[in-house]
Symmetry: D2
Subunit: 385 residues, 4 copies
């Protein structure tokens, strides 16, 4: 049992060999093989292509966003198989829109790749740090020489027990940026290894690729550091959510206390739901979901009976060009948001923050109003439990 | 701008109204609307259905797994748009298979829903705890009465500052179980509120729904607590990965130190990549990816020049019935793994652990052999950077 | 250079040999050797005794506590060399007392020692778990047989990747309990190793002794899980602290946000200050300070312009018999609190929680009123900066 | 019941009034009041002085340290009431010395105080950041103008959801530095508030004072970022510790796994024990113990049967001038270490790291050799358990 491969690995022929292999094992793929694009468009996205996973798409919204980049009312495509999710987010979006929209804001925007350089002697480490600081402009040039779109953003050196940690940072334009910065950082370390004194290449290590919650990135951010916030009046709370600010805050404080008591890494309810659905619909790298969930939901009661709620996502790694953004359905979903192509990544990030905020408002409100379980009974059921 | 809805919300008519709305905004959806199933099969999975997100599927493997439930060689469908991912996991699977397979094991298996009960006076909390302990069998019966497949697994009471925290636990059979346990726990709290003394329903709160890394679940697990481990010989390391145990361990220790220094929540490289791709392919709830990444990668050098590596995933929330498992392409992918339907959830969890292990082996090895960047240049590129 | 030791290691003769060794190195110890007790009373507390560290003691309070065990007004001895600390805590105690006192409450009370048992084969681990559950009463008897005061509290078994983790729990009466439970758990593991099948003693490890913040202990607690809470009226806030609830909450929310953003382990300002000073004064094991700081400060504004504030200390390891409690000045300090000897440990824990609460109120208030720096300039200065 | 205070709050008269108050309550303080220094020397260290807490001092060592600042053999004064502690650390020191000493190294050295500036509008925050960057030299001058010894080390600005976070950093010479940097940062914020546009002083908050483990400080360090490391040969392991590298590593891996599984904040066994004892003896601020425990213990087996072990303490806040360093016994203890006064803080930090390393070696070895419990039975017992 071996997966058939060929030089041209997306030809009809080789794909059909792979499908036949499964067929021979008794597995038919009528749905998986039902797509209408030329498989060669998946080059750079996948190896050993056999077809497509089809995830149901629902249309949520509209949500009004008053961001710096995203301005207006947006219908939001969400890909999920979890019943209730689209309905619940839509309700949150309705509340936000009736409140006049949420504001949204990018606080920081860069991708980072860390390398560790190890040394036999402390003096060598100290010399190395000095050398790097003296050559930072050349290193910036080397990094920028590997890319048309990326801009050098910084180079942070830390003296850690095992050597010198260098965090290579770039602004990645509208690309999500992982590949771009890995190549730039790799090229920079090659250049450093050739030019700096005392470097043994075997002691120079790429030490992290993200795809996990990391506490030290929480303050500065990673990818887009973005927030969305809204003021909901007493009326909106009552009419959309059948709740009051004081009931909402009572629940919020209990939930907040539970985050502390249980050691929750993200102090939010379910950023992961809406962001996963948005990521899948819009061709984002779903592997970056864990860091996207390490933010916080902040809420306070207003003197007039309303609520002020902020969703903070410090580590949102997204893009609108390259990667999965070029694939057929993904492109269509980005078009729905007006986020296809260049110049749209920050707009997309602001919309994502609005979506996350909508979900938090809705889930806490439905729980307050004791409707959470009923909604799931009604919408989220495939079979008898 | 309002999303059209109807009583029968998956009829051709209402779907086409939604698609027309987008059309009127200038957005065509030729790919999104290209599927060959009856949309009514998505009821319970999505609201406001407009079509499908098509995520490229690649075939990785085979991987040999010597688990308690998964035994044999498996081809693994992975849905992703990140180039290199399938190739990299395949290489790790090859090493595992050449080593005779990885063992895999389920350490715990239950889903949990926490409720907080608040009281005005400490005495009331103490009485309540005693009351719950005296009535635990009745509570178990109430919970089990809401489901055909779930079994009561336990009820943990903790005295926390704001009141009594009850963690309602169930074994959920082959269902992922969130809905099942939410309904059971909700029904139990309704019963408790009716029967126990001094309960004000407004002070009884559902305080967490998961979808995030939570430290307190790390020890006991949540969903499936599963590990996969393998011994790779010197030969396999050299032939498959062009590396040695000592080079591998040098890198591993640098990376491990970086996990400490940076405060990484999961002490692993990229569980998120393979698990996201497997979740999307096989109809799992991708919102549970954050907790799936809070495990560890453990490695030690063997006296004979080999390596012993373990991937530990304490909080893997997966299922093989209900939810997204019933959808057309998702069902086909579960069939590829021999994991469709009843009696397969633990088998699926063991395979997932094997997949995660394969990815870790591969990414660290390619980095050791300085092939990581080359591979991404070759396979993971859509456009000039 | 070797520290002189003898069979009777607290005789005048051997102490004076050690002091002479330092004298010969040019170091006089007129203050360190100035004490009026028989050094033999330090047996069991220290080895190689040379004298005493003299830490200044200040008298704070009184603080009114309405606990279950601590009831009334308490003067509190605090040992510290940090100027302002006693004054600041006293101010917080004044506010609490004027508010009619803080309530205090013990939520849990046990000490725990974890052992890891490793096995070659999964079946052995499963058998072992079953065996332990069947023999839990005998294990409880073995543990209780090693102590006059400790009571078996529970034995938690978890199936972890490397084997079976057993957490041996005891209620330790008025002793802090580390030694008691280590001996009991050790004896239990010896008994288990003799009687259970398939145990290799080299694969049975004591894996933690505390003395650090541990997330998994946050929910259940460790030692005393205790809270203190108070309602401060608008008048008390103005008169004692020259602040208002809304100014206080504005600062609190900024600080709370910083705890999230910076990844603070304890969501409190400075429990460590007051607890360190109380621990040193009263003969507690200061090594348990890190876990004592992993609690939270919770605050909310009241409709009448007041504040409700709770200090939560889930892992407070303290005692009133044994260890340092028997030493001369330590005994005197425990007497000041009415906490000397048997039956006083929970009372002591409630007072400690009140002290921690007082410090939080004071530091946030002084910062709100912009008096924090002035106070430190006035009271906390030894020399020109 | 009111604690007597006076203008001259350390006069014999006022102290004796306080002691009399306790006497009237039936509490005698013969030991607490037994000291031979003039109480006025405690001004700036304590308020409402009543006497001294006398903590037993033991002499550990010698330990050989090959640091940049600490070079040679050191006897180490440890103040504790926990039996076995001095003996255990002495054994670790013996092993280190027989191995030729541990190396030690300072990686970073600065104290930091964070302020949050909040703004009504995003534009104001952006302007403010730019303004601060343009005026950084003036801010540095303002900070340095408040102190004779502190040097400006940096000013880090982060754009966080609630506003702009400024971390004011200083090198504090031989002072621990908290007061120094609080005053400098406070003065800087006053200057900023006067000169920068759009600042409302009520929206400028001091948001942290340390005294807790904080993840974001783990990478860069706080206070002294210091490590100590040693290579122990097979012979030293056998002769001093009656263990072997492979037994030691087996235990270490189990313990390390438990750190992961339990969510331990510091991946070390008991830094807190030795550091608390050293802090109390030498007049350090014990409130900084929690951050001192968030480091790691790193170990690997050497090909020749030896061990390489590193103790890493990224956040060690210590000093040798000011604060408690000027007190009588504290000064004597600093003299024992050759660390009294100016120019000694880094030397002290290197010794502290060596002490922490010694403790880790000893506790893991005694546990490996199954002597841990016996030692505690023999040395750490006051009474029948």
């Amino acid at each position: 049992m071996k997966v058939p491969r060929a030089q041209d690995n997306t030809s009809e022929e080789i794909i059909s060999k792979r499908v036949s292999l499964l067929k021979a094992m008794g597995i038919d793929l009528p749905h998986t093989t039902h797509y209408r694009f030329d498989p060669s468009c998946t080059q750079g996205n996948i190896e050993n292509f056999i077809g497509v996973a089809q995830v149901p798409l629902g249309l949520a919204g509209p949500i009004r966003i008053n961001g710096e980049f995203a301005k207006g009312d947006f219908l939001v495509p969400l890909a999920t198989s979890e019943g209730t999710l689209v309905a619940s987010y839509s309700r949150g979006m309705k509340a936000i829109s009736e409140a006049g929209g949420c504001s949204a804001r990018i606080h920081a925007d860069f991708f980072m790749v860390p390398y560790m350089f190890q040394f036999k002697k402390p003096e060598e480490a100290a010399q190395f740090t000095q050398w790097c600081e003296e050559h930072s402009q050349e290193i910036a040039r080397v990094m920028e020489g590997t890319t048309q779109h990326g801009k050098f953003h910084g180079m942070k050196l830390e003296n850690v027990p095992l050597g010198i940690l260098i965090e290579f940072e770039m602004q990645t334009g509208d690309a999500m940026g992982a590949n771009m910065v890995v190549v730039a950082a790799h090229t920079a370390t090659e250049w450093i290894a050739e030019n700096a004194p005392n470097i043994d290449r075997r002691d120079c290590h790429l030490v992290d690729m993200g795809k996990k919650a990391v506490a030290s990135r929480r303050t500065r951010g990673f990818g887009k550091n973005v927030t969305a916030e809204v003021r909901l009046s007493e009326d909106v709370l009552r009419e959309v959510f059948r709740t009051t600010a004081s009931d909402w805050m009572r629940l919020y404080r209990a939930v907040q206390q539970h985050w502390s008591v249980s050691g929750a890494q993200g102090q939010q309810c379910m950023f992961a739901n809406g962001l996963a659905a948005l990521f899948i619909a819009c061709g984002q790298d779903v592997g970056y979901l864990p860091e996207a969930t390490c933010g916080s939901l902040l809420a306070s009661e207003l003197p007039d009976g309303g609520l002020h709620v902020t969703a903070e996502i410090p580590c949102l790694v997204v893009g609108t060009v390259g990667g999965g953004c070029t694939l057929p359905t993904q492109k269509e979903c980005l078009q729905i948001l007006g986020c296809e192509g260049s110049g749209k990544a920050r707009k997309f990030a602001e919309i994502a923050a609005g979506v996350a905020l909508a979900g938090e408002l809705s889930v806490l409100s439905s729980s307050t109003a004791r409707e959470f379980v009923d909604a799931h009974q009604r919408l989220g059921r495939k079979n008898p439990p």
